[in-house]
């Protein structure tokens, strides 16, 4: 099990388009990946899950993974969140 905390840096937070970017990165890996906010913990491969997390800008979320290539998986998802999805930052 690998996990890492990251703050959602863009203004609008994880809305539909960022959620799609996260899911697309997550489905590349075979391991289980989750994103956890103070409110909820969801499957990072589920667009439904990531969207209902509704993590707004500035929220701290924890990305965790368990299984094959868990380190790479966490890195990939954290990287995408850190990038701010190419949107306006806070």
């Amino acid at each position: 099990m690998t996990e890492e905390m990251v703050t959602v840096p863009n203004k609008l937070g994880i809305h539909a388009r960022p959620a799609a970017l996260i899911v697309r990165a997550a489905v590349e890996f075979d391991c289980d990946i989750w994103v956890k906010s103070p409110a909820d913990k969801v499957n990072a491969k589920s667009i439904m899950g990531v969207m209902t997390l509704a993590a707004s800008g500035g929220t701290a979320v924890t990305v965790s993974a368990d299984g094959k290539e868990e380190r790479e998986a966490v890195d990939a998802v954290v990287e995408i969140i850190k990038s701010g999805f190419g949107e306006e930052m806070i």
Partner: protein, 587 residues
Amino acid sequence: MLFRGIPASHGIAIGSAFLLKVEELRHARRILESHEEAEGEVKRFQTAVFSVRHDLENIADSMGDVVEGRQILEFLLLLLQDPMIKKEVEGGILTGMVNAEYAVSTTFRGVMEKFDVMDDPYIRERVADVKDVGRRLIEKLIGTEKEALNNLEQPVVLVAKDLDPSETAGLKPGQVLAFVTDMGGRTSHTTILARALGIPAVVGLQRITSEIHPGDTLIVDGIHGHVIVNPTEEELKYYRDVKARFMEAENLLQQMNPGPALTEDGNRIELAANIELPHEVELVKKLGADGIGLFRTEFLRLIQENGENEEDHYEIYEKIASEMLPKSVIIRTYDMGGDKFRTGLDTVREANPFLGYRAVRIGLERPAEFSIQLRAILRASVHGNIRLMFPMVTHVEQLRRLRDLLKLVQNDLTARGIPFDKKMQIGIMVETPATVIALDLMLPYVDFVSIGTNDLTQYTLAVDRGNPRVADLYDSFHPAVLRQIDTVVRVSHSQGKWVGVCGSMAGNPLAVPLLIGFGVDELSVAPSLIPDVKKMIAVVSTCAAREMAEKSLSIETGLMVRALVHSYVIGKYPEILLDENDWKTGG
């Protein structure tokens, strides 16, 4: 039980109700008997996912590099394959022992409810996408109802929330006796098509789909906009009688002399036909129309599954033009967007599609694709009397670019030694106040204009013609609309250009005298209206029409204008052309 809606297409039909696609996301629950059956349902669900995925990928491919469109499609694909949704549906089937449709609909409804209560407006907006995916899955699961429609043993009355124009185009008059819809207005595109097909229709009934059950007997009175559900014996008898009289009158009109349209005092008015589908040409010729005033080409987009094909266009244009010779055919380039045919392109949701990406706005941004249609029209132009018309031109720059693009295609044809009509007339639709006000600046670039009164009314009055809640504000007799028509005729004639009207007004019994009075050169209407309009023209004297038109310009309300024309034509028109409410409604 009687329902009142908007009379959309004249005629009376009696038949049993067929509900199309009204179930949406609530599907009957069926309890499964065995585990094997449940496994079978899971398989069905997976097959449906697979085939929806295939459809969505095809749409995504067809969008080329429309970035927003691709993003939306990708989002739909992610939703479709979401592991949480998959788990919930399959779990619902296996543990709840229910059919796949029911499991899909409850799961998707749950997801939509979840999205609906979220604070983030960006996420709430995605509810429509969830619904779209759910609907596609259900449609695959139940097999499309449209297929069922094709296998009917006897004709039915079609009941639907709304009909896509593409669906209406596929209806065969023998199969569908009439249609009634919750949505729609008197001049929505679907309505216009219904008239062309000669199917009675009542639209804008708001909630009728939730009141009618499959198999109910319906009387559809497309003259008054009434729908009677499960009528009494007495009502049935009355309407059978009215229907017989209506048919008799219709037959009389059809038998009329197919000569030119002449006013009472012998002035010739060009009366042309609006067509949508190539096979309508036959009827148009029989009715003796003075050409095709508007050939809508949007359906060509539908039949071309693998992108634009110049030969498909060419064959159809060439056939229509040569069959109509020596009469002219006005081909209008794609008018996609707005409420028109759904294409891969407009899967991008716009807040205001009527103010958005439509018609030549699309064409000018995709010149390579647009040139295919232009090339085909030019090539066909040597086989008949073709005129080219561009819709929704609002800026002179657009007109310049359109002419440049046309020139480019012409030069290429010349270089290749392919013949085309160098003198082909070029025109534009006048359908926005902008075009009217700046018309003198646009006219030097064109040979003619044709007024699309439906859009012109909608844009002038800021009324969505398909929204039943504001449909009563839609009024083509509003002073602002009439004055614009007058302006268009005067300005165009002063520059020696001719003016047609191809909107619904050209077929409206109370508008015809006014249009003649304003000096419009050509009226173009649905083929089925040609005999009626010819009759209308025949009783109007040019002099009286001019007086009425002149007078109408200083009248305050549309209602009063209609009353004025009504008092003139009453007793002149055959009774059937006017119904008691005609002068009250503004369509």
